[in-house]
Amino acid sequence: MDWSTIIGVSLFASGVQLAMPTALAAVGETVCERAGVLNLGLEGMMLTATLAAFVAAYYTHEAALGVLAGVLAGVAVGALKAFLSVFLKTDQVINGIVIVIFAQGVTLFAYERLFGGLSTQPEIAPLHDVRLPGLADIPWLGPVLFDQDALFYVAAVVALSVWLLLFRTRFGLLVRAVGEAPAAADSAAVHVDRVRLFALLVCGALAGLGGAVLIVGDISLWGPNVTAGRGWVAVALVIFGRWNPLLVLGGALLFGITDALQLRIQAASGGTTAAVPFEVFQALPYVLTLVVMVAATVASRRSAQPAMLGIPFRKGVSE
């Protein structure tokens, strides 16, 4: 096996591309979980956003409008989640799972309705790569960091901004407060439900952006269940990253690069003729994530989970 063709610049480039949608969604999920809302509907948010982004980009021929539509769709699902979890205070595990089921049904139905008459599969023009001249020519590092889709830069900036938002702003303080001690926050005149609503809208926007990146920044077309479980992996990565956006981003990159790596090893080892079954390769990202998470949990004694995660806030009711 020729390892130089497996581990190279393009491994990281394609790993990053595979990781980005998941990373954005996971960073978004970090915000709402920090605020105490468990959002298992992430996959549904992403999926809805992929279709919205595709439809908008298809009809307007503007990739940027596709991204905008994806974000708005994510925000809309975030609002639905907030309505169910924060205002109606229904069970967050159920409403999350149901949002996923609902989104799977609605997107398939809408796609069939909108594009049913076409004889070929509709597609959109891909977003053009942004090359930062000079920087992109740096050997190895250049192509990985500076020769990506424009959305890659957006994603990196977003993760950093969310970290700043959570740990360096008043809003971030409020978010963490309502996630850790809503009753105390409430007695300090904080509108707990309002903060949670905003956190969910931010989460929706980022999950929507993740969905849009997948479509507009990568594959340029839409298919049933195109997110293929990325939202679920993103939920797992939040716990993996111990509710810290930068660690979460790191976890997503680890997952994405492992996935890119396994495809390369598989290709180099010759597919089914190889002694090792290809399922082993496919399971690799999941196994690695699990192992790293167990190791990280064993290494750190303190739990990082927001104390009131998943528990609706009711004034005057102590949990």
């Binding site: 468990l38 298992l40 169910l84 109606l88 205070k89 229904t90 069970d91 967050q92 595990v93 159920i94 409403n95 799972i97 149901v98 949002i99 089921i101 609902f102 799977q104 049904g105 609605v106 997107t107 398939l108 139905f109 069939e112 309705r113 479980g229 679920w232 939920v235 797992a236 716990i239 993996f240 079954p277 399922e279 082993v280 496919q282 399971a283 999941y286 196994v287 994530t289 699990l290 998470m293 167990v294 949990t297 064993v298 739990s303 989970q305 995660l309 998943g310 528990i311 609706p312």
Partner: protein, 349 residues
Amino acid sequence: MTSLDVGLPASALAWHARVRALLVTVGAGVVALVIGAVFVILAGGSPARALGSMVDGTVGSKFAVGQLLTQAIPLLVIGLGLAFAFRGRVYNIGAEGQLFMGALAGGAVLLTLDLEPRLLLALALLAGTAGGATWGSLVGILRARWGVNEVISSLLLTYIALFVFGWAIRRPFGDPSAGNNLASRPVPEDTLLPTLPGYFVHYGLFGALVLVPIVGYVMARTPFGFRVRAMGLNPQATEVAGVRTGRLVVWLMLLSGGLAGLAGIIQVVGIEGRLDAGISQSYGFTAIVVALLGRLSAAGVLLAALFIAFLNVGGQAMSVDEGLPYSLVVAIQGVFVLLVLVADRFSRA
């Protein structure tokens, strides 16, 4: 990790609260029907006929009832285990993986051992339960020993289970004559469960129904059930009171994983007659909804499983009769479940 509203016993509700509950439920039903009707009209169908199909397809004949029950069985069996685990705040969301591992373990027994059919079947059911329990216990041990969050570990283990299952039905147990239906060789014909004449529902139904009072009794009436509830309400206090909560977590994972595994092997000997991906359409995930909608009680899980099966089976009938895409039916189901959730919330507020 989530809100566990066990709720007040019905007797504690004043009459006006009951009236209110009734009104909210009826109101939610009406809203659900209106939204469903709008969806059906959008797709060019007739709401009245669609509703008729749903009813006819689920209770309109012996066969329809059989279909309803057949699809409720796995949801019920898995849902019971999950309800128990959730009572102790052990959030096993990996029942789907445990189901496939159970089917695989039980299937391995059926495909490799050569025994008297009844003994073989009994052994397979045991192995299926053990397979799911083992897969679940990994999650329990990780949490009890090192505090690893069970939501993520059970979810990741589900993906891994699917890859293991996929490999097993392709390589060691693969059936070349299955064509492009990736499937194992058929299990011995004489180990398949009989079906109830006229209803076309397999005898796994009775097993599932027997489990309802048993699980209900253990949850509500035994010291074990009591400790689980105590741990769910206040783990620290329970620990202080001398209960080894770590052990309890592992037990709950063995139990919920075991029931998911049992559901998996029941699908194999009740319906498929071999191992393939068709044994589940995300039953392990849907059962989470069933457990929570059923308010974590055994009887509630039974009702919730029937309700979800009604939506599934009725939706299939509606999709056929009205020529509606099944995706639309799935969306309408989502609306129905959400409204039940809302009604449930308000009827108790």
